[in-house]
């Protein structure tokens, strides 16, 4: 009986995905014609994708936690001013990969990293790199919103203050711009002095985005930014991401296929620490070349 029930739910999922796929199909029918689909798919590697203007270049990156590999031999270029989604089943190493980009893994004991990560052509694991400077260039939004127990204003001003901005008119401007950028300004402009913890969950997450963009990073990493939020808040954040990718390079980890389909231009599918397939989003969802990718995006596992 249980099996039957399971099958039924899987069927439901499939139906849902079919609907999405149909929608996406129409989209693609309009757009794909102009895209030189053939030129970007090459033989030999599962995810070979030629990016003309990469901002992040990851080469042969392997990371081990106490000798246990969490991501293996990652080779991926991330395009500038686009949103790139990373999908994959739980535990496949998505967060780990993301944390490699701002060296947040350095804080964990027993981590060994091999390979190279270049951001704007600079190897970030070089010993001459100032990690705090790097982190100012690579912002991050976490799965669980984590505003500091300070005022809304102080949360946004935190990063700029660290960079040595003390002038209050400058700070006011940065705070307003960032909150505007995170589509939060209108909601909080009258209560900037209140504790950030008095905001709702969705507002808190947007505050964290505002806080991250206040230091004007080159790359914005988002690790499941909407997983704790309701559909409306999620919608707002997704709109925001679409907005932000004009100016920022966004790397977003998500478990929500629709979200990946909606917001990202490129999608990488990870499985057991490896990148299985990396392509423009439409291709991953409509024409996956890999059987595992197909199974995953069609909801057969994960």
């Amino acid at each position: 009986m249980e099996v039957i029930l399971n099958l039924a739910s899987v069927q439901g999922n499939i139906l849902k995905y079919n609907q999405i796929l149909k929608k996406s199909d129409q989209l693609i029918k309009q757009n794909l014609e102009d895209k030189k689909q053939d030129s970007i798919r090459k033989e030999g590697r599962s995810h070979q994708l030629e990016i003309s203007d990469p901002i992040v270049e990851i080469e042969n990156l392997t990371l081990e936690y106490d000798g246990k590999p969490a991501i293996i031999d990652i080779l991926i270029d991330i395009p500038k001013n686009h949103a790139t989604a990373v999908i994959g089943p739980s535990g496949c190493g998505k967060s780990t990969l993301l944390r490699c980009l701002n060296r947040l893994n350095d804080l964990i004991d027993g981590v060994t990293i091999e390979g190279s990560v270049k951001i704007s052509g600079e190897d970030i694991y070089d010993s001459n790199i100032d990690v705090t400077e790097l982190r100012k260039r690579v912002g991050m939004v976490f799965q669980k919103s984590n505003p500091f127990p300070k005022s809304i204003y102080e949360n946004v001003a935190y990063g700029p203050r660290l960079s040595g901005i003390k002038n209050s008119t400058d700070l006011d401007e940065i705070v307003e711009n960032s909150l505007n950028g995170a589509a939060l300004w209108e909601e909080v402009k009258d209560r900037l002095g209140e504790s950030a913890l008095s905001l709702s969950g969705g507002q808190q997450q947007r505050l964290c985005i505002a806080r991250a963009i206040a230091v004007e990073p080159e790359v914005l990493l988002m690790d499941e930014p909407c997983s704790d939020l309701d559909p409306i808040a999620t919608g707002k954040i997704e709109d925001l991401i679409t907005e932000l990718k004009q100016n920022y390079t966004i790397v977003i980890v998500t478990h929500n296929m629709q979200q990946a389909a909606r917001v990202s231009d490129y999608t990488a599918f990870m499985y057991l620490g490896r990148i299985i397939e990396y392509d423009i989003t439409e291709n991953i969802f409509l024409r996956p070349t890999n059987k595992q990718t197909e199974d995953y995006v069609s909801g057969k596992f994960g």
Partner: protein, 775 residues
């Protein structure tokens, strides 16, 4: 069919499951109920036991505030019961010059005595007023007594006769017990050797004898002269023999005033004369051959109000002055450079409980209480130190002619002009405490100004207990403050370091080690501090104060060097752990400071910093001082603050730290700007609890300071803390006595302070938690 059976199976299963579930549910409910019962009853038990402790302490303290109880236990007309008639020659009270009556009683308040003009001592039963025994004074047989002097110890009397003799008399009671345990009190009378002053009636008399058997008397003769005589005797087995007699006529000093009363202290140093014109004359008579008029004071207000009675408080150093307007004041000599004897009589306490002229003054031989009686028959009981009138008694409206305080201060005898004899029971166990003496400034006898003093016991019975808790509370705060100055930075820095920078495996070792420090018995710390640390620190004080400077300089130098060190060396340290390089630097700093000690002392302080401190800064250096307590008690407090603060810091959610780091903050910035404020609730309660511990700490403050109850913030001085004071004094405090109860009050105060601190800690914690809590 199979489907049906299967369905049935399922049904059964569901039924069984629900039965099983309800059983589990009931079991759970029972367990839940008992758990709740145990927890609540445990909580209630704790609260109750704390309340019980509070209750028992309070019970011991409350009697301090119980007022004086007085019961008239006897009243009789002595004319009827004993056949003694009262003869008053002059009715104007301030001129009631002939104290022909003196009364007294034994310490069990069974037998009283009355000395009358006829030169007989009448012993009467205090039960019914009947005469027990009449003893004539053999050495002045047949002479009429014209004046009586009663010394403040209630035993010594002197009688002046109509033909100019002074007879010292001592009355005491021999107490013995029969085989059945019955008490027998036998009055005894000792007559001294009478000596002739002037061959004229002695209207007024003051007499005393010092411990070395010299005697002196001042008299007012019936022709109005003031004569001072001093007598040296040699005592032999048979009798006293008068050897020398110096006589001085001091009348000229009086400027024609009419003397109303005389007092001479038992040191034979000071003669006080009060006059109808309201002046108080003070002669220094220590040089028997040359009495000196030191001072003439207009002692009453408004000036000219007659001065009617004089007396001494216990100890013969404080003079009690009563005047015709009913005011009683207490005076003693205070240091004064303008005075020829270096001290000047000053009015210290002031009591206004009478409206009629004061006729008599009698002081307690136990404490600093005294009685004053007036011409309308009112009697007041005062306490000098606490400056309070404890009791007011009224009689039948006639002037009181004689009054006596029972030897154990548990009774009052008075006799009025009509010959009515009154006997009161007095219950006055704690006259010396009120809020002012316990917490305020009090002008104690012999002090040059009012002050906060704790000195509970002294060498003699006449000692004035000084029970101000203020210097002790001050000491407690001082100790706690210095301990916290030392402990807070160290423990918080340690907590930040361990929670933010240390590898977890190391943290798991270090934290328990520091926490074990808390289990170190404080007596060991105190012992160590008092016996080893104090003498050692005394040798290297300049170095101790040099240390912070040297260590800061070294750290700065190290930081600059570190900056210029090649990057690959940096890379070998985990971010933040370079902090541990400071440990050798600090040790180096300490060593350098100690090494610089002697050169520094020679260079700056002329080779002896103690001298320098005293001469330049006016500071005294005690070997066991607040600095030592700061170190030792700091060590006791550090583990507590460290442990609680470390917990608070490591409980700051990791995603907050990560958020800060992701914005480009380094570890230190994150620790200071995010972790510390977030953990501020826990840290503040850590500090409060540390403070609570420091306030209650006993053994360390007991052993590491000199326990001198002085009030002085100097780091080089010791102090006495409330807790240490209790420990030191409770063994010597008689059960139920004032000191005993005051010590309990100190305990209550400590209890209260810790309670307030802990409550404040809790409130602060809750407020901060509200602010930073929902993470």
């Amino acid at each position: 069919m199979s489907v049906i059976t299967r369905l049935k199976d399922v049904e059964d299963k569901i039924y069984l499951q629900s039965a099983f579930k309800s059983r589990i549910k009931r079991k759970r409910q029972i367990a839940d109920f008992f758990a709740r019962l145990v927890v609540t009853s445990g909580g209630i038990a704790i609260i109750l036991s704390i309340l019980a402790i509070l209750f028992f302490i309070t019970i011991e303290v409350i009697p301090l505030w119980r007022g004086v109880k007085a019961d008239l236990s006897g009243r009789f007309d002595i004319k009827q019961t004993a056949g003694i008639a009262i003869i008053i020659t002059d009715d104007t009270p301030f001129n009631k010059p002939i104290p022909i009556f003196a009364i007294g009683l034994d310490e069990y308040r069974e037998i009283g005595f009355i000395i009358t003009k006829t030169g007989k001592i009448n012993f009467i039963s205090l039960k019914d007023g009947s005469i027990i025994k009449q003893v004539p004074l053999s050495k002045i047989e047949g002479k009429n007594v014209s004046s009586i002097f009663e010394s403040s110890n209630n035993k010594q009397y002197a009688l002046g006769t109509e033909d100019g003799y002074v007879l010292p008399v001592e009355i005491n009671f021999k107490v013995s017990f029969t085989q059945e345990g019955k008490r027998i009190i036998e009055p005894r009378l000792f007559e001294g050797e009478p000596f002739l002053v002037e061959s004229i009636t002695l209207n007024k008399l003051a007499y005393n004898q010092s411990s070395d058997d010299s005697r002196a008397a001042a008299v007012i003769t019936s022709d109005g002269r003031l004569v001072f005589v001093s007598v040296e005797t040699s005592s032999s087995l048979i009798s006293d023999e008068i050897k020398n007699l110096f006589k001085h006529d001091l009348t000229s000093g009086l400027k024609g005033d009419n003397v109303t009363s005389l007092e001479l202290d038992s040191f034979l140093d000071n003669l006080y004369v009060g006059t109808k014109e309201g002046r108080l004359y003070h002669w220094s008579v220590s040089d028997k051959q040359n009495p000196k008029l030191v001072d003439v004071i207009s002692a009453t207000a408004p000036p000219g109000t007659p001065l009617t009675a004089l007396g001494f408080l216990l100890g013969d150093r404080s003079l009690i002055v009563g005047d015709a307007s009913g005011v009683v004041s207490v005076w003693f000599q205070v240091e004064d450079e303008t005075s020829p004897i270096g001290r000047k009589l000053q009015k210290i306490h002031h009591f206004k409980s009478h409206n009629q002229p004061i006729t008599n003054i009698a002081s307690s031989s136990r404490d600093r209480s005294f009685l004053s009686a007036d011409s309308s028959g009112n009697i007041s009981l005062h306490h000098a130190t606490s400056n309070q009138t404890l009791l007011q008694l009224s009689t039948e409206g006639s002037s009181i002619v004689a009054i006596a305080f029972a030897p154990k201060a548990n009774g009052i005898l008075a006799i009025d002009q009509k010959g009515v004899f009154y006997d009161w029971d007095i219950d006055n166990p704690h006259p010396e405490t009120n809020l002012k003496t316990l917490f305020g400034k009090v002008w104690y006898e012999g002090y040059s100004k009012p002050d906060y003093v704790w000195q509970s016991t002294g060498g003699t019975d006449e000692f004035e207990p000084k029970l101000s808790l203020t210097p002790l509370a001050y000491g407690t705060l001082k100790g706690a403050l210095y301990a916290l100055i030392f402990a807070i930075p160290l423990s918080l820095l340690g907590a930040i370091c361990v929670s933010q920078f240390m590898h977890p495996s190391m943290r798991n070792v270090i934290k328990p080690i520091i926490e074990i420090m808390a289990a170190l018995p404080s007596v060991v710390l105190g012992f160590f501090a008092g016996l080893w640390l104090a003498p050692y620190i005394e040798k290297i004080i300049p170095a101790v104060f040099l240390m912070p400077l040297v260590i800061t300089i070294l750290t700065l130098v190290a930081m600059i060097l570190w900056k210029y060190l090649p990057k690959f060396i940096h890379a070998r340290f985990r971010e933040g752990t370079e902090f541990f390089l400071l440990i050798p630097i600090i040790i180096l700093g300490i060593l350098i400071s100690i090494w610089l000690n002697t050169p520094l002392e020679n260079m700056l302080f002329g080779g002896d910093y103690r001298n320098w401190l005293f001469e330049v800064l006016g500071l005294q250096y005690d070997q066991r001082n607040a600095l030592i307590v700061g170190f030792a008690m700091g060590f006791a407090v550090i583990p507590i603050i460290f442990s609680i603060a470390e917990d608070a810091l490591s409980n700051v959610p990791k995603h907050l730290t990560a958020g800060s780091l992701a914005l480009g903050a380094n570890r230190w910035q994150t620790a200071i700007k995010v972790v510390l404020p977030t953990a501020s609730a826990g840290i503040s309660s850590a500090i409060m609890i540390g403070l609570g511990r420091a306030v209650g700490e006993t053994m360390i403050v007991l052993m590491a300071t000199g326990n001198t109850p002085i009030m002085d913030w100097s780091i080089f001085n010791g102090f006495r803390a409330l807790s240490a004071n209790i420990a030191v004094e409770i063994p010597e405090a008689p059960h139920g006595g004032t000191l005993y109860r005051v010590l309990f009050l100190a305990a209550l105060l400590l209890f209260f302070v810790t309670f307030v601190l802990n409550t404040a800690a809790e409130l602060v914690r809750q407020r901060l938690r509200k602010k930073y809590g929902q993470l």
